[in-house]
C-alpha cells in the first residue's frame, strides 16, 4: 500500500533523492556497533573500578578515585583523538590490526570504554550506597569475606537499583559515539557532515539523522526505565 502522505511517485523520488549514494543505514549500524561494544566494555571496566573504589586496599581505592576524577574532567573528544594520535601512533597500541579503518573503530571503542567506565563506576558506587547496611553486616556475620560480600550480596542488589542511572549512561554513550567522527570512523555524524556539506536539503538531512538518534535512544530509555521499575528492590 502506498504511503498516505507522499502518494505521487515523483514526489517521493524528490523527497528521498538526497539519500541516494549515501549509506545512511550502514552509518547508523556503525553507531550501534560502537555503542554495543563500548557498553559491554565499560560495564566490565566500570564494575572493576567500582570494586576498587570500595575495596579494603587503600592503593586501589586511590587509583579508582583518581581515575574517575581525571577521566570525567577531560573532554571525550580529547580522549578519542589521543587514542588515535597518541596510543596508536606513538605508543604502538594497534589493537591487533594494521588496517587503519578497523584500527580507528577499535581505538574509538577503547576510548569510549575508558571514558564511560568512569560514569558506570560512579553509578554503581551510588547503587552500592543504596544497599542497606544490614545486608552487608548480615553477610559478614555469616562469615563472607569482602569479595564474597560484594559479589553475592551487595552488587546484585546494587545493579538492580542502578538500572535507571545506567540507562542514562547508555543513552549518553549512544550519543557520544558521534565523537568517533573526529578520528574518521564512518558513523552517523561523519556521514551527516559529508551529506550536509554536499547536498542542498540541509533541513531534511538534519531531520533524518535526528530521527535516527531518537529511534536509537528513545526505546533504550523506555525499556530500561520499565525494567528498572520492575526490578527495583522493594524496601
Amino acid at each position: 500500500m502506498p504511503s498516505p502522505y507522499v502518494t505521487h511517485p515523483e514526489a517521493r523520488e524528490i523527497v528521498f533523492d538526497f539519500l541516494e549514494g549515501y549509506d545512511v543505514l550502514g552509518a547508523f549500524w556503525m553507531t550501534v556497533k560502537l555503542t554495543a561494544l563500548s557498553a559491554v566494555g565499560s560495564l566490565i571496566w566500570g564494575t572493576l573500578l567500582a570494586a576498587m573504589r570500595v575495596s579494603p586496599v587503600p592503593l586501589m581505592r586511590g587509583f579508582g578515585t583518581a581515575y574517575v576524577n581525571i577521566v570525567r574532567n577531560i573532554p571525550l573528544t580529547v580522549i578519542i583523538l589521543f587514542s588515535s594520535l597518541g596510543l596508536a601512533d606513538i605508543f604502538g597500541v594497534t589493537l591487533g590490526t594494521d588496517d587503519f579503518k578497523a584500527q580507528g573503530f577499535r581505538l574509538a571503542v577503547l576510548g569510549f570504554v575508558a571514558y564511560t567506565a568512569a560514569f558506570v563506576c560512579e553509578a554503581l558506587r551510588s547503587g552500592i550506597n543504596t544497599v542497606p547496611v544490614g545486608q552487608a553486616e548480615a553477610a559478614r556475620a555469616i562469615g563472607l569475606g569482602f569479595s564474597q560480600t560484594l559479589r553475592l550480596i551487595v552488587l546484585p542488589q546494587a545493579f538492580r537499583s542502578v538500572i535507571g542511572p545506567l540507562a542514562n549512561v547508555l543513552i549518553a554513550l549512544t550519543k557520544n559515539t558521534t565523537v568517533a567522527a573526529a578520528i574518521g570512523v564512518a558513523e552517523a555524524a561523519a556521514l551527516m557532515k559529508t551529506m550536509i556539506e554536499n547536498e542542498a536539503q540541509t533541513l531534511l538531512i538534519g531531520a533524518v539523522f535526528a530521527f535516527g538518534f531518537v529511534v536509537l535512544t528513545l526505546p533504550t530509555g523506555l525499556i530500561l526505565g520499565w525494567l528498572s521499575k520492575r526490578l527495583a528492590v522493594k524496601r
Partner: protein, 308 residues
Amino acid sequence: MSSVLYDTPGPRAKRRNVVLSVVFFVLLVLLLWWIYRTMDDKNQLTSALWKPFTESEAWTTYLLPGLANTLKAAALAMVIGLPLGAVFGIARLSDHRWVRAVSGTVVEFFRAIPVLLLMLFANEFYSRSTNVGSADRPLYAVVTGLVLYNAAVLAEVVRAGILSLPKGQTEAAYAIGLRKGQTMSSILLPQAVTAMLPAIVSQLVVIVKDTALGGVMIGFTELLNARGTLAANYANVIPSFIVVAAMYIVLNFILTSFASWLERYLRRSKRSTGAVLGAEDMEELNPAAVGGTFGTGAGGGFGSGTGV
C-alpha cells in the same frame, strides 16, 4: 573509609591486603615505566618539545586565547540556555495539558540528539541561510548547538528545582492571595534558582567539555583547536595533548569543586528550605553524564545512603 563491606582487617587480611597492594603497585609502576620508555624511545620527552610550555609566548599566542574562546562559548551557552531552559521547565509544570505536551516533546527531542549533530547542522544553516561572518560562524554554531541541548537539560533542572521545594511554599503563597504567575515568579523561582545553583555549575563542566567538539569538527578556535596551531609550530603533537588535557582537568576540577562547595554551603544554610539539587541529581537528569561531584558523593539523591 572503614566500610561495612569488610571487617577491620585481622592479621591474615592485613597480610593479604599488603600482598594485593604490592602486586597492584608493581603493576602500576610497570605501566608507568612502559609509558616512560615508549615516550623516550619515540623522542617525546626531548626538552625541545616541552620547552615551549615554559615560555610565555606559547601561552599568550595559542593556549590562552583558545581557553578564552572555550570559556566564552561555555558562558554564552549557559547565559542563553538558562532562561530558555527555565521557560521550558516552567511550561512543563503548566496546568494546561497542551503546553505540557508541546514543551515536553521539545525538551525530550533535544535531549535525545547528540550535541555534535546540532552543531554541524547549525554550522551549515548559518553558512547557507544567514550572513553571519565566516570568522564568527563557528562560535555561533557551537553556541547554538550547546544552547539547544543544554536548554533542554536545564529545563529538567529547573523543573526538578521547583518540584524539590516543599509544597507548603505554594500553599502559603496561595493562602496570602498570590496568583499562579506571582507565586512562580516571586516565591518558587527565586528559591528554585538557589537550589539549582550547584547543578547549574556542574552542567557548566559538561558544556566546557562539549566545546571541544566544535574545535575539531567545525573549526571553532577553542582550546583543543588552538592546540593544533601550536603543534604545527612546535611539532609537539603528544606533549601539547597532555598539556591541554591537564588544562581541561584543572578547569573542570575548579568548577566541580565549586559546585560541591556550593552544595554543602546551601545544605548547611539555615534560611533555605533545605532543598538543594546536587551534582548527583544531575546525573539522573542529564544523560550526558555530568561531571559530577568531586571525591565521595555528598550523599545526594539516593534514599538510604548511609555511607557504605
